[in-house]
Symmetry: C2
Subunit: 120 residues, 2 copies
Amino acid sequence: MGVTKHDSYTAEQNRIAALCKVLGHPARIAILQKLLATDCCICRDFTDEIDLAQPTISRHLQELKAAGLIAGTIEGTSVSYCINPERWREVWTVLQSFLSVGTEGITSCCDVAAEQEQSK
Amino acid sequence: MGVTKHDSYTAEQNRIAALCKVLGHPARIAILQKLLATDCCICRDFTDEIDLAQPTISRHLQELKAAGLIAGTIEGTSVSYCINPERWREVWTVLQSFLSVGTEGITSCCDVAAEQEQSK
DNA sequence: TGCTTATATAGCAATATTACGATTAATCAG
DNA sequence: CTGATTAATCGTAATATTGCTATATAAGCA
């Protein structure tokens, strides 16, 4: 079916999943890394640097924009993109609260080593 | 085409993206949250708690297992799953190093507020 | 106005993902 | 051994994602 049953989950679960989904493509990670490295504002440099057709890059940019992670402003013929700092910190907070739960004090009840051996 | 061009990206970009992709589904987040909350080891409680058919749950479990996030050991008729603590901490580290880059000191060059207004 | 550049959108094809019902495999109780 | 229970796998259908080419849009320049 390919359609996720969002109604069955909590708002938080959907929020985390939606966020991770957007981050779940290397091209979008590459875009974000570049924006973070250049502090802000680039434009069609992505097309030069990433081995994807211009429309495909544009699509990924729109997806990041829809998720609120980046913003773009038109500057003459080109478009400047940058990280949305507020949202970026929010992402950090959301994921941190999820991930940090088990950072300390988790003891595995299963034999993880044996399990990993098994799956080879 | 639906096929991602992994060759075009760095190992790190692919690693982050692959990880986020696994986390990009609410059912898998729900599973992980439950495992984190119960510290470890449950089994078919997922089927009771999550509104998905048993084979679908099983699939999600296999995906989490393939990503190394959880481990499962057979205990009689049932299977006990638990977080792989080592891998979990690794996830934490990988995502932290990516996300924390812009947590401080990012100044938006674009007018984010105007941008968000625009997209309404 | 017409040409060039930069970006977005439309349309399409291929592959991936999600989810289901049916079936299989394996263990336990009797 | 038989039946019940638990979980994984198979086969299938629907939808989503990725990425391309072709086209549209919009701004700047001659």
